[in-house]
């Protein structure tokens, strides 16, 4: 899976949780919490969904490293390759 495919999957899961976000214009660098009103419950649900969908283990201690879409990609991409 390349980065674009991974991005598409994350956006799909994100829009299931927060369909109010316009994924076409989403800024990859923006903090999801500040710019797109994702709260900590949403974030928890998103990471749980990604864990299920991608079969990637995401320890809770790493949650704080993923504030934006680009951080999510940076975190998940190398873990998929393994």
């Amino acid at each position: 899976m390349n980065r674009d495919e991974l991005r598409a999957i994350i956006l799909e899961e994100l829009s299931a949780i927060a369909p109010d976000i316009d994924t076409d214009t989403l800024n990859d660098q923006a903090r999801l919490r500040d710019e797109y009103d994702l709260d900590s419950m949403d974030a928890l649900n998103l990471l749980t969904a990604l864990h299920k969908r991608l079969a990637v283990n995401i320890p809770e201690a790493d949650y704080a490293r993923m504030h934006s879409l680009s951080q999510l990609l940076d975190y998940l991409e190398p873990r998929l390759a393994r």
């Binding site: 369909p19 009103d37 709260d39 419950m41 809770e60 201690a61 949650y63 704080a64």
Partner: protein, 585 residues
């Protein structure tokens, strides 16, 4: 009375507890005496901000740190009592120059930044009525609260203004001023950069002496039906803010105190602004939202001694496991407390095992203005119980009868939790809703809407709500407010909103909708409806799930039966359905 040895594991350190013996503290307590711990103002007048700030200024407290501010990134900032008072004075002077009069409403919609505190206290100093709003609200809950409370000024940040207010604020005629706190890059039209305006003002301001019964705070809360309710609190409430912080949270001037509640709610105001200051503590204010590792680091690095947090946050920490906690030195902590929803026994035990101290649960609500029931440091905790009535407060569990209420004496029987009136921080009304206010009282008793039991030792146990309000992450959500927005979607015929149990948030919001003819259920439509709700209500209020139903159970008069929806969803007994439409008699 329990011997002192019972409490040695529940509180740490050498500071003697402010309430050392429950029975004697209770029998010797008078509100007049509690009032005597404050300075008051000449002629029997009062001001919450005077007690929080001014009265410390001729004491050594003036130079102590009032707020230790932790920005999202970068170094902590220390704000002394004197500096905070001067900042609040500048804000009060800005309000005066703008022509605001005592009694005018000032709303605040902001995340935790230092000038939020200056704005709140400056508003009170000027005799205006302060209302906090939750910054995670969407535009709809904000607008409905503005329309009900008709504030003259709104304090917010540039980002929140652009995202949540700019589109509609000019349509609400009461709002004459928008003041932007925090960094302002490009001042939008018709707004004022508050920092700039404050810089031009004097740091001196003579705090207005108010009648103790003058309005000071307006806090919104939710009921089962109708619009949000604005609970009115007066300046005299500070007597309860102060003494309950001292007795139930055991605040001492030496304490480094951290209240994690958002200042957009009543806890974040009573115990996140007022009480820690009247008690002369140093409070930690963190700009960032929940982040387990950051929180442990704060407890460790700031040497926090008293920590007041919420069950949702505790349960999130529990998910991260004990290892993370054990990597940190949490030895400065001496007293832990929790509020917002009932704290499950596992969380009390987890505190004891992982942090070395158990959490002391306490209970109160927007209407009560301050803590009413608590597990005090000097008495044994009963895990799962909210504790005993604070001194000065009489509680009872009531049964409803044909001609009123009567007290339940049987510890096994559940009834409605009631508080004997009056007390200083009791709400004095729901704004413009006299009838709704009156309905909360029977005789001398305020009925809380919470169902509880009282055991032989006077410990109260929360059982549930008597109405349909939802409690998610410690916040009350009125189903009607959510249903109203769902009904705005052109496909929705009926909507019913309930709370379903959630291991972290306590409850989360779930919506059931039926569709108008010509619309078919499907994923796209579901997302559309969910998206609309989130956009309008914000994530804190919007449903996390939407489910389609052919029709919703309703009474013959057309009212959706949320209780039945909930019973069916959770597999509970359905109870009396005789008024159900289509049911057989």
């Amino acid at each position: 009375m329990a011997p002192p040895s019972d409490r040695t594991n529940d509180v740490r350190g050498d500071l003697p507890p402010n309430l050392s013996d429950y029975a004697s503290a209770r029998s010797g307590f008078t509100w007049a005496q509690a009032r005597g711990e404050l300075a008051g103002m000449p002629g029997g007048r009062m001001n919450i901000a005077y007690e929080a700030l001014d009265r410390h200024l001729n004491t050594p407290t003036a130079h102590r740190t009032a707020i230790r501010y932790l920005p999202r990134e970068g170094e902590p900032a220390e704000i002394s009592y004197r500096e905070l008072a001067e900042r609040a004075n500048r804000f009060a002077n800005v309000l005066a120059e703008l022509g605001l009069q005592p009694g005018d409403g000032v709303y605040c919609l902001a995340h935790r930044i230092p000038d939020l505190y200056a704005a709140a206290l400056g508003t009170l100093k000027h005799g205006c009525v302060f209302t906090p709003l939750f910054s995670a609200f969407g535009p709809e809950p904000i607008r409905s609260r503005v329309e009900i409370g008709r504030p003259v000024a709104i304090v917010t940040t540039e980002r929140l203004f652009r995202r949540k207010l700019a589109q509609w604020i000019r349509e609400t005629p009461s709002v004459r001023h928008v003041l932007l706190i925090g960094p302002v890059e490009d001042t939008p039209p018709d707004t004022l950069d508050a920092a700039q305006a404050m810089a031009a003002q004097s740091p001196e301001y003579a705090t207005r002496p108010m009648d103790p019964e003058d309005r000071a705070l307006l806090h919104f809360t939710s009921g089962t039906t109708g619009k949000p309710k604005g609970a009115i609190h007066v300046h005299e409430a500070v007597v309860a803010h102060h003494i309950t912080g001292k007795l139930a949270l055991d605040l001492h001037p030496e304490d480094i105190y951290w209240c994690t509640a958002d200042p957009g709610w009543v806890t974040g105001t009573s115990y996140g602004i007022i009480s820690p200051l009247t008690n002369g503590t140093t409070m930690v204010v963190d700009e960032e939202e929940f982040d387990a590792e950051r929180w442990y680091r704060i407890l460790q690095d700031q040497r926090v001694t008293v920590w007041y947090t919420a069950p949702t946050a505790i349960r999130m920490l529990m998910k991260y496991g004990p290892e993370l906690a054990r990597k940190h030195d949490l030895s400065s902590l001496r007293f832990l407390s929790s509020v917002g929803e009932p704290l499950n026994p596992e969380a009390v035990h987890w505190g004891r095992e992982t942090l070395g101290l158990p959490f002391h649960d306490n209970w109160w609500q927007t209407e009560t203005g301050g803590i009413m029931i608590a597990n005090f440091p000097s008495m044994p905790i009963k895990p799962g119980s909210m504790g005993r009535a604070v001194p000065g407060i009489e509680t009872a569990v009531m049964r409803h009868t044909d001609d009123g209420i009567e007290r339940i004496d049987d510890p096994a029987e559940t009834g409605e939790l009631a508080l004997k009136t009056p007390w200083p921080s009791m709400f004095r009304g729901y704004l413009n809703e006299e009838e709704r206010y009156r309905k909360c009282f029977v005789g001398d008793w305020y009925l809380t809407g919470d169902l509880a039991r009282c055991d032989e030792e006077g410990y109260l146990w929360f059982i549930g709500r008597a109405d349909d309000v939802i409690k998610s992450s410690g916040h009350l959500i009125g189903p009607f407010e959510v249903e109203s927005v769902l009904m705005e979607h052109p496909a929705v015929a009926e909507a019913g909103v309930i709370g379903i149990p959630d291991e972290v948030a306590g409850e989360t919001v779930k919506a059931f909708v039926s569709l108008k003819p010509g619309f078919e259920p499907g994923d796209d439509l579901m997302k559309e409806i969910l998206g609309l709700a989130r956009k309008r209500l914000g994530p804190a209020v919007a449903p996390r799930q939407v489910e389609f139903r052919d029709r919703l159970p309703s009474t013959r008069s057309g009212k959706i039966m949320r209780r039945l929806l909930r019973a069916r969803e959770l597999g509970l007994p359905e109870g009396d359905t005789s008024t159900l439409e289509g049911s057989k008699e």
